[in-house]
């Protein structure tokens, strides 16, 4: 019961925050809502017994990505003046499409059978994740690091003044 209550509370707040992200006219507020949503997701990870991911979620999404976005907004604040509207012309199509998509997918997911497995999370989960990175998944891991390097260089090249 407590678990369900916690889930409903967290998930509800997270969804409200997410709605705030897409609805807020002020970009800075949207970014703050984004931080809230990320935080809620981190809590959900911890509820799912993935503490490592919860902490990593906060470090990466709130500590890095959200702050980066806020920084970008602050840098470009004078463009953000009172503009015609936050949404483009066919936002109602988008809304209809998204709602339809949500209902359809949600219905499908409820219908779909899953082979649930009840087992404890291994005690050395973090160690296993680490082993996975340098063992089974070393190639994707290396590729991801190369991707980050390339993104770093690319971002610098794109953003620098010529």
């Amino acid at each position: 019961m407590v678990g369900q209550a916690l889930f409903i509370l967290t998930a509800g707040i997270t969804l409200l925050m997410a709605l705030g992200v897409v609805l807020a006219r002020n970009l800075f507020h949207a970014a703050l809502f984004l931080v809230g949503a990320f935080f809620g997701i981190a809590v959900l990870f911890i509820l799912l017994e993935a503490e490592f991911l919860g902490a990593a979620q906060i470090i990466i999404y709130i500590g890095a990505i959200a702050t980066l976005i806020v920084f970008a907004i602050m840098l470009s604040r004078h463009v953000m003046g009172k503009e015609a509207g936050a949404y483009n012309r066919n936002w109602y199509f988008a809304l209809a499409g998204v709602v339809f998509f949500f209902l359809l997918l949600g219905w499908l997911l409820i219908k779909m059978p899953f082979n649930l497995v009840t087992a404890e999370v291994p005690a050395d989960a973090i160690a296993q994740i680490g082993q996975g990175f340098v063992g089974h998944y070393v190639v994707p891991f290396e590729v991801a690091s190369v991707l980050l390097l390339v993104a770093l260089i690319g971002a610098i090249m794109l953003a620098r003044e010529r």
């Binding site: 897409v22 984004l34 993935a50 999404y61 949600g106 497995v117 990175f133 971002a155």
Partner: protein
């Protein structure tokens, strides 16, 4: 585990849809980027939930989430750099003014 798997899935779907709406409807490119981040997070929730409920002993689900983190970080960095670059040339980062994607 008292919370059924489907709750998580519905939650992730909702989050995904909200993010997708942001991507589709917002005019400001940074807002679009935020929508993309929400969508990525929805995927992460799904991955973790599937891991916890379907294969709790095999940690591949968590590992994939970390890869998504890496991709999201790269995407955010490049996306924001692009916006700065676009702003410099076009003095605007409204997505509906960027209509070069046609013949």
């Amino acid at each position: 585990m008292t919370v059924p798997l489907s709750w998580y899935l519905i939650f992730a779907t909702a989050l995904f849809s909200i993010g997708f709406f942001g991507v589709l409807a917002r005019r400001n490119a940074i807002a679009v980027l935020m929508g993309v981040e929400l969508m990525l997070n929805a995927v992460n929730v799904n991955l973790v939930a599937f891991w916890r409920y379907l294969t709790p002993t095999d940690l591949s689900g968590q590992i994939f989430v970390v890869f998504v983190f890496a991709v999201a970080a790269a995407e955010a960095a490049v996306g924001l750099a692009l916006m700065i670059s676009i702003y410099r040339t076009r003095k605007s980062i409204n997505v509906d003014e960027l209509n070069e994607l046609k013949l």
